[in-house]
């Protein structure tokens, strides 16, 4: 049966990226539903040990293209290998991270294979579809669910006729789940010499500075997030103080990041990271649809806002009507008083 493929990208430290492991976990579930194997594609100058980082997530076959010319990522050689592999193996589904790499590579591959591609999905499922005109029924399609129109609506996209069905998926929306630490993946080596030609290496990387990931709000248990209502970068300092005391990370809305109050890595929402912490404290965040979509699944939500009608209050468990500059110092004071 035609497999599900996950394109796995490498971090700067040459480990498998978190987003790829998340996709392997999602891919495993879809593969179980369809009763087909899950296969991973790993391309770079890494050996089997690194590639096997995906195994615990339930990957049956790892296609490994090891070649020192393949790191860091470049469009043309990676696309050539992926296109060749898809043509040979005929997977029914291929998923990529919606990262600068996945969003550079997947459209190139989709165009070459003339297949459908849906960008920035926030959910994937298997389902059927009846074409309204012809009443033709399609079974076991990949339902590709994504925000559309600036995040104001949610669209379900399908590719009824073409294969593979391809999608890029946002980081953090799928949960990483280990199936078994001893899950056995078969390694299938790709002969890169056969595929790669000089014309794939016409681009020159002259310089590269990529910082290792320092901020990781995705896995934080508690998040103190600030919005445009914080007023300034200086006022954000208050959020760091509260976060420090609670053992939390600081997040931010898009408006706050655009205003320069916080680093882009802290952005929560549809364009940013999706989080589901135990506690989310939204400070001066009005709660546009795009922001709520990235945090609505938090277990407990506290909203601190001067506006009682802020949309975020609708999904909050506790709403504190007030100015963050006055509320947060009180929270710090009473936390210290009450905690043992």
């Amino acid at each position: 049966m035609n497999s599900i493929f996950v394109y796995c990208e490498l971090t700067e430290e040459k480990n498998i990226a978190d987003v790829s492991l998340e996709l392997c976990s999602k891919g495993r579930k879809l593969a179980n539903q369809l009763n087909v194997p899950l296969e991973a594609i790993v391309i770079g100058d890494v050996d089997e040990n690194i590639a096997r980082q995906v195994s615990p997530y339930g990957v049956d076959v790892i296609h490994l293209a090891k070649d020192n010319r393949l790191f860091p990522y470049q469009t043309l050689p990676h696309a050539a290998i992926v296109i060749d592999l898809i043509k040979n193996e005929q997977p029914q589904i291929v998923i990529y991270g919606a990262t600068p790499i996945g969003r550079d590579l997947a459209p190139r591959v989709a165009s070459a294979l003339r297949c459908g591609l849906t960008a920035d999905c926030t959910e994937l499922a298997i389902g059927s579809h009846i074409e309204p005109k012809s009443q033709k029924e399609y079974k076991n399609l990949l339902l590709q669910i994504r925000p559309a129109f600036g995040g104001n609506i949610i669209a379900t996209i399908i590719n009824p006729e073409t294969r593979p069905q391809m999608a890029t998926v946002r980081e953090g929306v799928m949960k990483k789940e280990i199936i078994s630490n001893s899950y056995n993946s078969k390694i299938s080596k790709i002969d890169t010499e056969k595929i790669l030609k000089p014309e794939h290496f016409i681009l020159q990387t002259i310089e590269r500075h990529v910082e290792p990931q320092k901020i990781n709000i995705k896995n934080a248990n508690i998040i103190v997030a600030g919005g445009y209502g914080m007023g300034s970068k200086e006022n954000f300092q208050l959020l760091y103080e509260l976060a420090n005391i609670l053992g939390a990370e600081v997040g931010a809305s898009r408006a706050a990041v655009d205003a320069g109050f916080a680093e882009p890595e802290r952005q929560i929402g549809q364009t940013g990271v999706t989080v589901r912490p135990k506690l989310y404290i939204a400070c001066g965040i009005s709660g546009a649809v795009q922001h709520r979509a990235g945090m609505a699944e938090s277990s407990t939500i506290i909203s601190i806002n001067t506006d009682p009608k802020a949309p975020i209050n609708e999904i909050a468990d506790y709403v504190i009507i007030g100015d963050v500059n006055s509320v947060i110092p009180k929270m710090i004071k009473f936390y210290k008083q009450n905690v043992k």
Binding site: D120, N159, F334
Partner: protein, 290 residues
Amino acid sequence: MSLKIVVLAKQVPDTANVTQDAMKEDGTVNRAALPVIFNPEDLHALEMALRVKDKIKDSEVILLTMGPVRANEIIREALFRGADKGYLLTDRRFAGSDTLATSYALSMAIKKLWPVNLIFTGRQAIDGDTAQVGPQTAEKIGIPQITYAEELIDVDTSSITIKRRLDRGVEIIKSPLPCLITVNHSSPRCRFRNAKLVMKYKKATSMSELQERNEDYYDLFESKPYLKIDEWGVEDINADIKWLGLSGSPTKVKKIENVVFKAKENLVLADNDNDIDKLMKTLINSHIIG
């Protein structure tokens, strides 16, 4: 030697400012109720193209867009800011195209304009946010791509050097020409309209616009050919309709829904010692914090 530069741009509904009036009962968006704008990152792309022209004089910057006749507005806007020429791809048979069919149409138009040295476009359009049309167009033409471009470092008649913005860093890439570049919003903003160019191009018009207005165009285009915005249909770009519109689009929209959040019953607290003290105790006692 000079370069021929194409800028791919799109007129889009202003999705950043969707008001409740624009949302229909069924959760879909009433496009007609939204103002249309020049896709923001395409304006950044235009600026980068104009900077190439600043460096290599006599280069030509051509704006290419696909859409209804109204999309001529963005061609004029580009002319006011320094572009030399505009082409509008307009044909009912383009309607319903997904990113693959759109990039096919654009690639056929670019082939018609060939030899082209550089193609710039915005990283993505705000109505779809897919970021697919740029790379797909590059693949269809068979040229390399540089995505997420932030800065033009250098350009000559045979190569271009671009700084890319990545998640946690930057990369400087040099590509031979021809090459397609998708431009990020972190790159320089587009220059403003130039008063002289506004005077020169304010009457720039396409045939269908003139026909709609029932104006005599013969003399105008005869004396000032630069005012003519060319319109191309399927036959003009030698496209095969099998790869266009709905039939050329592998992706279909199955369903569109409003974004719904589960509203919670909430406890409203005031900014006073008593309320905040109670809240912190509750959170500590339920082991959420502490």
